[in-house]
């Protein structure tokens, strides 16, 4: 990449001492990218942009927010009513969190479909799963801050899960609360951590990108591309403009929510101030937690439920070693493709079950959905890697003529 030679003498002077311009040139301009990426590859850059939006809107909210049980609810209402454009900043932060999860979930399923977790991108994938976990922690603690009924009761239900840990469970919960129930101490520490976690996410995202740029993007065909070949194009202007277009579409959806349906994805009960004496009829988490909530409740035993819930993320961590097929893209794996879509339906089913009271048919559906989720990763994928015959792979993106047999996507290292 040392062909970079800025014409501006000041830029040259600085770059010689601090190579930030050549760094940006290498990673944002020249960076060779497969030319066949489809729109599902837009969601990575979108996630990064939302992270910035969340931090900017969050810091602004923090300037006006009061983390105290007696004032938190009203301080958020003061933001909505008396702070200039406070309603907009708050709605941006609130709906930004929802869309952050929409975008990241699509980003993850993209990876699942095109086998982006396979060698040599295992660490890249695992960093992604770590980002998901950090996002969940951040959103959970953020949701407590407005101190509405769902804030309070959601926090109570979720923190109580830790009491399932044998022997020390109860002590851990009290330690988490900093009191004998969810109270002022809890709110304060959640605010501190909610401010901290997004910056942990930024750190993880940087590592995620370092790992990405080691081997470059995967692509819909899933074969390795040779750098500098016909198969790649420079990131700028091709993908900068494509990401800009994607951003425009995303912002249209975002603005639609913020300005015309700001509370559509939220829960009415959170506009009632927290009251430890009144339990809401149905405590439901935000939609992005619903599949996990369904898995938690599918197991009749509390500890078992907690283990299953964390297990549902843990299987994602070890996914690269569960799916041993050398072919990445589902396009060339007919059976894998079928099971991928069944998994998508299963996750939607779990999300639906998570919003329902744990009774009647919902219990059974939750258990079947949970069993299938784990079976997909622990049984079906390992078996498929052995049994399935993939379709022949093309030898390059530019020559989609099918040449030779699989596997062309051999691990690089």
């Amino acid at each position: 990449m040392s062909t970079y030679n800025p014409s501006n003498p000041l830029v040259r002077w600085i770059d010689h001492r601090l190579p930030m311009f050549s760094f940006m040139n290498e990673h944002l301009t020249d960076y060779p990218t497969p030319k066949n990426l489809n729109y599902f590859w837009n969601f990575g850059s979108l996630a990064g942009i939302i992270l910035v939006v969340m931090i900017a809107s969050g810091i602004t909210l923090a300037m006006h927010y009061t983390a105290h049980v007696d004032y938190a609810f009203n301080s958020v209402e003061r933001i909505m009513r008396d702070v200039n454009f406070g309603w907009m900043i708050r709605y941006i932060h609130m709906n930004g969190a929802h869309l952050f999860f929409v975008v990241v979930f699509i980003h993850i399923f993209r990876g699942l479909y095109y086998g982006s977790y396979k060698a040599p991108r295992e660490i890249l994938w695992m960093l992604g799963v770590a980002i998901l976990l950090a996002m969940m922690a951040t959103a959970f603690m953020g949701y407590v801050l407005p101190w509405g009924q769902m804030s309070f009761w959601g926090a109570t239900v979720i923190t109580n899960l830790f009491s399932a840990i044998p022997l020390v469970g109860e002590d851990i919960v009290i330690w988490l609360w900093g009191a004998f129930s969810v109270d002022n101490a809890t709110l304060n520490r959640f605010f501190a951590l909610h401010y901290l976690m997004p910056f942990v996410i930024v750190g993880l995202v940087v590592l995620h990108l370092v790992a990405l740029h080691r081997f470059g993007s995967n692509n819909p065909i899933g074969i390795d591309v040779k750098k500098g070949s016909q198969d790649t194009i420079p990131f700028h202007p091709y993908y900068t403009i494509k990401d800009t277009f994607g951003l425009g579409v995303f912002l249209l959806v975002f603005a639609g929510l913020v300005f015309f349906a700001p509370n559509y994805l939220g829960h009415a009960d959170n506009y009632i101030e927290a009251n430890p004496l009144v339990t809401p009829a149905l405590i439901v988490p935000e939609w992005y937690f619903l599949p996990f909530y369904a898995i938690l409740r599918a197991i009749p035993d509390k500890l078992g439920g907690v283990i299953a819930m964390f297990g549902s993320i843990a299987v994602l961590f070890i996914l690269p070693w569960l799916d041993r097929s050398p072919v990445r893209s589902a396009t060339y794996r007919p059976l894998f493709k079928l099971f991928f879509w069944i998994l998508v339906l299963d996750c939607i089913l779990l999300g639906y079950v998570g919003a329902m009271p744990a009774e009647g048919i919902w219990v059974l559906l939750g258990q079947v959905g949970t069993a299938y989720y784990f079976a997909h990763f622990l049984i079906i994928l390992p078996l498929l890697s052995k049994l399935e015959t993939p379709k022949p792979l093309p030898t390059s993106i530019s020559k989609p003529v099918t040449g030779g047999a699989a596997p062309a996507a051999a691990p690089a290292e």
Partner: protein
């Protein structure tokens, strides 16, 4: 483009799931038509003004509206003079003064709506243990809030249907959870006298007070939608330009 449509459809589908889930669990109330519905919807100002009168003359004896300041009424068309006069009807506790004493004074536009009770305990003591909630956020704090409030206010029945045992001090309402509510029917025909000549039927007053409380729950409602239209127009142009540029730039990439 096909891939793009799929990606967009997936995104929308994901976003719609919680709503499907929610619809499966909620209580059904009949829908009314409201001027604030839709992209171009706004608060109906004459209705909200009449609604303030209903709130003041009926609801305010039991319910507070503590997140609203009198000055906020400027947004539904009251003049500064009118607001000053309206606030002055109420007294608030202020102080301490230079002698260290608390004192009462007439409310001013920057004061919050004066609550009928000193605290929740007093409210419960006066209402046989029931608590008349603060109405500032009521429209947002109930699913389908505007339709629910209208249904609640018009949903009283003189007598409970056969087989239903009303507990003492409770009233039968079709739309309240469990059908027994501690609030006596608050509205009867001609309870208030509108100065604009509108007939004060129960349903008219219920609608008007709903408009007012919709405004109280979200004083920025109209501003939000008006700004939204401008933002969407800007984004449509931006996205269109980005799309055209993308097509031009990508034209030379061989498939």
């Amino acid at each position: 483009m096909r891939k793009f449509v799929i990606a967009a459809a997936v995104a929308l589908g994901l976003a719609a799931t919680p709503q499907i889930a929610k619809a499966a669990g909620g209580v059904d109330v009949p829908s009314q038509s409201w001027a604030f519905e839709g992209v171009f919807g706004t608060i109906d100002i004459p209705a909200a003004q009449r609604g303030l009168q209903v709130y003041k003359e009926v609801c305010a004896s039991c319910h507070g509206l503590s997140l609203m300041a009198y000055r906020n009424l400027a947004q539904i068309g009251f003049s500064e003079e009118e607001i000053k006069a309206l606030a002055a009807d109420y007294t608030v506790m202020d102080g301490p003064n230079d002698d260290g004493e608390m004192f009462e004074r007439a409310a001013i536009p920057s004061d919050r709506f004066v609550s009928p009770y000193a605290n929740e305990q007093e409210a419960r003591a006066i209402n046989n243990g029931a608590y008349p909630v603060d109405l500032s956020l009521i429209i947002k704090a109930r699913a389908d809030g505007a339709n629910y409030l209208y249904a609640l206010l018009t949903g009283y029945r003189e007598e409970a249907p056969e087989g239903v045992d009303l507990m003492p001090g409770m009233y039968y309402n079709e739309y309240y959870g469990g059908n027994q509510i501690a609030m006596p029917q608050p509205l009867y025909d001609d309870f208030v006298e509108y100065s604009d000549g509108t007939q004060a039927t129960v349903s008219q007053m219920a609608k008007d007070v709903t408009y007012f409380l919709k405004f109280a729950a979200e004083p920025s409602h109209d501003e939000r939608k008006q700004m939204g239209i401008k933002v969407i127009i800007f984004l449509l142009v931006f996205t269109g330009l980005a799309y055209a540029s993308m097509k031009k730039i990508w034209a030379d990439v061989k498939k």
